[in-house]
Symmetry: D2
């Protein structure tokens, strides 16, 4: 069973910039995360964009939709910022692509101690392999259908509506 | 949906002993791994044993079976050494417990750079939530039924029979 | 030979806050860094303040000076933000305390991959043990006298004047 | 001031081999450690050998001595296994090279959580820059002259004789 993993940025993929003291984007960490994971099935990685999900515009979401449409793999994991993950999931869900699409992200960047990134990536890959066609958000060790989840920002967790 | 995670030892949970230079067992790393993962559903952790799977005897496997039988949670992840994971999975599979039991482990200890432990734990948790009752091995980002998998030791990967 | 280590904050000690996505201060990482270092000589750790060095006012620097004055240990390492490390070093240098005081910090926080924090802490401790009384900045694997160093902000390094 | 860093192996530089479950040698981690450290002075790295110090024979120590003799840098850090660090230090000390040579190592490999490697490397570099010509062992945040130190193996620390 083959898988496509699409990077869009978000906390998962943030790097620390020593010159500015800010968390910024650079090369995606996902190839390194996947190397650790020791996958044996075909997996296509696509670095589509690298932005904070608060900065995502409609045009960005259309790009993500187009990437899912053209994907030859029917199972897709999208690494995305958490703040507007639900909005992107909704656009993809309404498009009814007949693919299994799982959005995930992280509350702590991959490169920072105590990150949830690697756990979430593993969780999302299994959800992509095992779920029927549809669009899902996989965070906090739960798989949520796209239309019934929101981020509780004060608690920093995803909850069922 | 609630989950039980049972530690039995294996590479996943090995620590470095500075006095002997050996990899040994100590307190399980799994509570720390789960803290990173930011679970929001009930999850019971059980440190059942801490041994190398090459040292596992029938009595140990019977203990693992008993732990699964008495588990109030119908979804169970077992962290286990990879070398005899298949043997333990077979015992559990033949017992037909009507629970979803997923065995996972790691090729590189959790505490060593480049580990697959956190990815595998996330992958196994999703497999436990999403698979029907049965016994599975989740390694290399694949979910294998217990009766159709083996470890290819020279390649260090799990493969379908 | 006994040593005092004084935490004042700075990049070295920053934590990631998952709720705001910002790097902030919490409990100092220095006790954990020192536990790794396996010191066998007496070492007093003092968490004096936890601020960004750009936010340091005269009152803060006076507090640091007072901490050095009252220190029973004649060898002191101060972990400090890099941006105004030189200003604090100047105040301490002009006070002529007859102690060996070494300021250090980090360009990448201790808890982020690729940090210079642990190297710098080791370097600064050796500089504190081996240098004669005076005030020094130890960064980029160099020991600079307080009056002849500046931070080149565009390059992110300390240089001799 | 320029520095030479010579790798000889030891715990500092051990990697985990997923196929055998053993700690073994591969490419040295020291270039990566130095990249983190953000050195601005000239530093030559030399991967001389990669062995456990318990496996060191006279011929190996002669190779280390020869490397120190031919070094154009008068300040040298040698990363070495701890078990026979003292024996190598004695050979170098007796050779009276008129260089500052500091041996260091680690009780926990660089690539394992909680390692003292990066701290020790920083400490040893400062000791190499600040000490007069001679041969020293830098471990446990102390600088010991070569002829007055031993490893207390049951405690896992270096102590003055």
């Amino acid at each position: 069973m083959s898988l496509r993993i699409i990077a869009t940025g978000g906390t998962f993929d943030k790097h620390y910039d020593p010159l500015t003291g800010q968390l910024v984007f650079g090369d995606s960490v996902i190839p390194s995360a996947l190397a650790c994971a020791r996958l044996t099935q075909p997996c296509q990685f696509e670095a589509l964009m690298a932005i904070d999900s608060l900065d995502m515009q409609d045009a960005h979401r259309q790009q993500i939709l187009a990437a899912c449409q053209r994907s030859e793999e029917a199972r897709i994991v999208i690494v995305h910022g958490t703040d507007t993950m639900r909005e992107t999931a909704a656009l993809l869900g309404q498009a009814q692509l007949n693919k299994t699409i799982v959005l995930t992200g992280a509350m702590v960047p991959y490169r920072i101690d105590g990150s949830d990134a690697q756990f979430n990536l593993g969780f999302a890959c299994a959800a992509a392999f095992l779920s029927e066609a549809g669009v899902y958000i996989a965070m906090n060790a739960q798989v949520f259908p796209w239309h019934a989840v929101h981020k509780n920002r004060s608690a920093g967790i995803f909850e069922a509506d």
